[in-house]
């Protein structure tokens, strides 16, 4: 294996070898290497296949601008796809895989797409799959999905650790290059709380390792000394941290990569940390990316950005080629050429598209001994998996040609400032003529946001350092701190000057690649313009230019420059496409953090939870609550258990934990008036010691919730709500009070957690209570239906209300939460002689469906009281909230739904969510309604359900079906009254 390392110190530690695999083959890198540098050092230039045409691709960029070398790290559930090989440090045992190749990287059968290139041109998807040929999408989709794509996401759950955190600071500096470091120094020296973030694992950005002097001090030394000073001044320095988005209220989203693969020592450490950083001020020192040059085969492995070739040599001692050709339209590449030549690499030629260059450039070319072709351009790169030679020609006389052997073509089309984060804030970048790129106009930014370095339009080293320092001083001034004295840095080499020359679109190959990640060529741009998609946002959507994970970092400027030539527009008048967060792809794992599985949301447990758990109850989540679903006896199925539990309520007595019901204390002199307004039925006449069932509507007349309110005293009510409706009802009451009737003297407190609640239901429930609370009279006279009594005990007051949800003689017993388990166990032990058994939500559901009581399945926010046949609850005598809009005629027409009962004709279970239809399975016809709740009814020995069916359909009921086409189930049903059992309510009047 040939090594492409050169003998020179750099950021890699040759004492510390690191072994990793790429597509199963083992390679050796060193500590400090990235995946890209380690593979290039091993002579590997083929990293992957391109998105659309499956062309071979290698490394083109130094870091996060990389569009081609996308890799997957890890396997199975731990695989993380679409990572840039240039940003991931290699670690021992790391498994790296190439992407978008089939069956293998070298032999990619789908590269036949290259031959079909004319078919995959701009607007391909729109032309082929919209309009009359839309159906063909179905046909081609599987093939296209396989042929055009990036890395694959694992479908297995990711068990790796991630975490979230918050940070607050005076100033957040985004970018740890020389500009950001200088800004940090000024701010930290002023005593400000500074956070400096950078996505690289070294400080200094693209200038790390650059051979230059800053005010007489070696640049690398200035960087390390400054970083040490920042640490000493208490600044928080976050490397490998990408600030991916800027949001309202000075909130910044950032992800810190702590590791790329899980450790193998069994200790669970987070891989990534999602940071929400709230900063009083921010300084964007995000630097710039180099632009590629446009020519045929400019995406071939071995063709890379000029400063990238320099960077791999300076940072990693990697020679990207043995015979390098530099191709540029500006001065900056001459610095890279000088550095490469001084390191002993062979720079064979310097091709410059400009008609003439400065004397400094000429003497530099002579100094390094490169053939200097000024006014020439590259026509084509030759080679299959790696560049072997380049064809060049004179621009104004294309008959003059040369073919130059080269294994590395290093190109520079000027620099493109990273304006993404300013764009997130809604700022439109402005065109800078000297820079040939879009920059941030500080006047367009909010006052708390500042820019420095290339983003502000400066590219040379001393200007970046001085500008960064000045931005830090400005923040200090605005925050009332005393800034340090300004600095006047000077550099030895710096930047030569003279900005890029735009290429003439007429001289360029149509096959020149513009967007390396999405395979968008100059030809695609031309076609889109011809077809009328010449506005930047249209062009982007029509050609997919700039839509990859790299967001067009290296294609934007070239595309806009060509677009202006093709359309005759002035570049100043072009508005670049707006960038949106995230700047780089963010894993869902990082955003979710530790909120997964049991920790996805808070858990609420009732006071009797431990008892249920000790009984081995089958639990079920209901919103945030966990409730017993059924208490299964050994060998019992869920169905057997709930049938037994419900049957026992009808026959003897059962007890159910209803602590999850929402409970709101409504108190004050006007509490009664208030309730009379929010409930549809009359509450003004409710006496003390009585409860009433009430219905509550939203503004639009639809049902919000139902429940009972108990009048405990003259000005004291206890309102209960459904388990799921508690929060919404509380907010509804507060809103009506504050925004509609602030003059009413009433207040609300949620007391859901204060009361334990249990329902004791069944013909023998009175006997159980009588025994448990001996000395208290529970006779019909003492506690009639809807009566409420309070029992004072040494530990607290217990409320007993005679309410029935099951249709049986039943009581709701509320006690202070701390007494919950005690009272629950008391009732169970006193009820033993009467056959008491606990029952869960399944039995509760079966009992209420038999009675036709509505619950969550029916109260879905889309139903009116008329739909639920609760119009009897609407007072005709008084006004109530929601009444005006309930009077709209349309709410009563023949297309409205009405609550009905269903019985399964063939005795097979029904399914909630099924549609009610007229037709058989072969021709079901349109939906006439839906099934909202289902159960087996122990009392009827039938499979039953509640449904909402159109009034029009009910009138011509000629036999209906409950259709579930997803499960392939079609059941014949009989429509009956939703009061399946005891419609007159005799059973609860015992």
């Amino acid at each position: 294996m040939t090594s492409f390392r050169i003998d020179k110190p750099s950021g890699v530690d040759f004492e510390k070898p690191v072994n990793f695999t790429f597509d199963g083959r083992t390679y050796r890198g060193f500590a400090g290497d990235t995946v890209a540098s380690a593979l290039l050092a091993n002579g590997v230039h083929l990293f992957g296949r391109s998105f659309k045409y499956h062309q071979p691709r290698g490394v083109m960029g130094a870091h996060v601008e990389e569009a081609n070398a996308l890799i997957t790290i890890g396997r199975g559930a731990h695989a993380e796809p679409n990572l840039q090989a240039t940003t991931i440090p290699v670690t021992e045992g790391m498994e790296v895989y190439s992407q978008n190749r089939w069956p293998s990287l070298k032999l990619d059968l789908l590269s036949i797409n290259q031959l079909a290139a004319p078919l995959l041109s701009a607007g391909f998807y729109y032309k082929t799959f919209m309009g009359p040929t839309k159906r063909s999408w179905m046909l081609y989709e599987p093939f296209i999905r396989r042929a055009a794509g990036l890395g694959a996401v694992s479908t297995s759950p990711d068990d790796q650790a991630y975490e979230k955190d918050h940070r607050f600071c005076d100033v957040l500096i985004i970018g740890g290059g020389v500009t950001g470091i200088a800004a940090g120094l000024a701010a930290a020296r002023s005593g400000l709380r500074v956070i400096l973030v950078d996505d690289r694992n070294v400080w200094g950005g693209q200038m790390a390792g650059v051979d230059d002097d800053l005010s007489g001090q070696p640049l690398d030394q200035w960087i390390s000394h400054s970083i040490r000073e920042l640490r000493e001044l208490g600044a928080e320095l976050l490397s490998r941290t990408t600030a991916f988005g800027v949001y309202d209220g000075h909130v910044h989203g950032a992800v810190q990569r702590l590791a790329d693969v899980s450790s193998h020592d069994g200790v669970r450490r987070p891989l990534q940390r999602f940071l929400k950083i709230v900063a009083k001020h921010s300084i964007l020192a995000t630097g710039a990316f180099e632009n590629p040059m446009l020519f045929r085969n400019n995406s071939l492995p071995g063709v890379m950005l000029a400063d990238t070739a320099r960077h791999f040599m300076d940072r990693f001692s990697v020679a990207c080629g043995k015979q390098i050709v530099i191709y540029t339209n500006n001065d900056s590449a001459y610095g890279a050429a000088r550095r490469l030549a001084e390191a002993g690499l062979n720079v064979a030629a310097l091709i410059d598209t400009r008609p003439s260059v400065s004397a400094a450039c000429q003497s530099l070319a002579t100094h390094i001994g490169a053939s200097h072709l000024v006014g020439w351009q590259v026509e084509k790169a030759h080679g299959r998996h790696r560049v072997k030679a380049v064809s060049v020609c004179k621009i104004d006389d294309q008959r003059q040609k040369q073919r130059i052997s080269s294994d590395c073509l290093a190109m520079s089309g000027g620099w493109n400032p990273v304006v993404h984060l300013a764009s997130h804030m809604g700022m439109a970048p402005v065109y800078s003529e000297p820079m040939g790129a879009f920059i941030v106009d500080p006047d367009n930014l909010p006052s708390h946001c500042h820019v420095a370095g290339p983003v502000a339009g400066t590219l040379d080293l001393p200007s970046c350092v001085n500008g960064g320092f000045a931005a830090g001083m400005e923040v200090a001034r605005q925050l009332g701190s005393t800034p340090p004295d300004p600095i006047e840095a000077t550099a030895m080499h710096g930047f030569i000057g003279d900005w890029p020359m735009k290429a003439d679109v007429e001289t360029l190959s149509e096959k020149a690649m513009l967007d390396f990640q999405n395979d968008v060529t100059l030809g695609d741009i031309k076609l889109a313009v011809v077809e009328g998609y010449s506005a930047t946002e249209h062009l982007k959507r029509y050609t997919t230019l700039g839509m990859g994970t790299d967001q067009g970092r290296t294609s934007n400027i070239n595309a806009i420059s060509l677009l202006t030539q093709l359309t005759g527009q002035q570049i100043e008048n072009i508005r670049p496409t707006r960038f949106r967060p995230p700047f780089t792809p963010i894993t869902l794992g990082a955003l979710v953090g530790h909120h997964v599985g049991d920790h996805a949301q808070p858990t609420r447990l009732t006071p009797m939870h431990d008892w249920h758990a000790a009984q081995g109850a089958m639990m079920v989540p209901v919103g945030l609550w966990w409730r017993p679903r059924a208490y299964l006896k050994p060998g019992e199925t869920l169905r057997e258990a709930y049938i037994r539990e419900a049957g026992n309520v009808r026959e003897n007595v059962g007890i159910c934990d209803v602590s999850t019901l929402g409970k709101i204390a409504v108190q004050g002199p006007d509490a009664g008036v208030f309730l009379d307004r929010v409930y549809t039925n009359n509450f003004a006449t409710l006496p003390v010691g009585k409860a009433r069932y009430g219905l509550m509507l939203r503004d639009d007349g639809m049902v919000l919730d139902d429940g009972t309110s108990w009048r405990l005293g003259e000005n004291d009510y206890l309102m209960t709500t459904t388990t799921g409706g508690a929060g919404a009802v509380m907010q509804h009451l507060e809103r009506l009070h504050n925004l509609y009737w602030p003059d009413l003297r009433v207040s609300f407190v949620s007391v859901t957690g204060q009361w334990a609640g249990m329902s004791v239901a069944g013909p023998k429930s009175r006997q159980v209570l009588g025994k448990a609370f001996s000395g208290t009279d529970f006779s019909d006279a003492a506690l009639p239906i809807m009566g409420v009594m309070s029992i004072k005990t040494a530990s607290g007051t217990i409320l007993v209300a005679r309410l029935s949800f099951s249709g049986e003689l039943a009581y709701e017993v509320f006690c202070p939460a701390c007494m919950g388990t005690e009272i629950w166990c008391d009732l169970l032990s006193h009820g033993a002689d009467f056959g008491i058994q606990p029952y869960g939500t399944e039995a509760l559901g079966a009992l209420r469906i038999e009675k036709g009581h509505v619950a969550g399945g029916e109260l879905d926010g889309r139903v009116s009281p008329y739909n639920l046949r609760l119009d009897g609850m609407l007072s005709k005598k008084k006004w109530f909230f929601g009444k005006p809009l309930l009077e709209r005629d349309g709410l009563y027409d023949d297309d409205q739904y009405r609550l009905v009962g269903l019985i399964s004709e063939d005795r097979q279970p029904l399914q909630a969510g099924a549609h009610v239809v007229f037709g058989d399975k072969a021709s079901p016809g349109p939906s006439q309604g839906w099934v909202s709740s289902v159960t087996y009814s122990p009392s009827l020995d039938e499979e039953i359900g509640l449904a909402l069916v159109k009034k029009r359909a009910l009138e011509k009921d000629t036999g209906m079906y409950a259709a579930n086409p997803v499960a392939g189930i079609h059941r014949k049903v009989r429509i009956v009254s939703h009061h399946f059992l005891d419609p007159e309510g005799h059973r609860m009047r015992l």
Binding site: D248, G249, G426, D699, Q731, R735, L739, W879, L885
Partner: protein, 90 residues
């Protein structure tokens, strides 16, 4: 977004709940249905300055009238409304 609650100070938007358009008419209890239709369904939904009701749901639970630019999300004023609007309280 960060909202400066008069009771609690600067808090992240995730603590608040948007209630509705504070510029929409609030009909009288006995106003005809047409007025309620206007109040419930007709929204100006402006691009720019807007008066809105918010509730500090995960905080003091008070109702706030907020003047906000819907384009930039800049907040210009926050005032307490409802029962404690006068600042007297109980």
């Amino acid at each position: 977004m960060i909202i400066d609650c008069p009771c609690c100070g600067r808090r992240p938007v995730s603590e608040f709940s948007y209630i509705g358009d504070a510029e929409a008419a609030k009909p009288d209890m006995h106003a005809p249905a047409a007025e309620w239709v206007k109040a419930v369904y007709t929204r100006t939904n402006p691009r720019g300055m807007h008066l809105e009701h918010w509730q500090h749901l995960h905080g003091c639970r008070q109702f706030l009238k907020i003047q906000r630019d819907t384009l930039t999300h800049e907040i210009f004023s926050v005032e307490l409304v409802g029962v404690y609007a006068s600042g007297e309280g109980e």
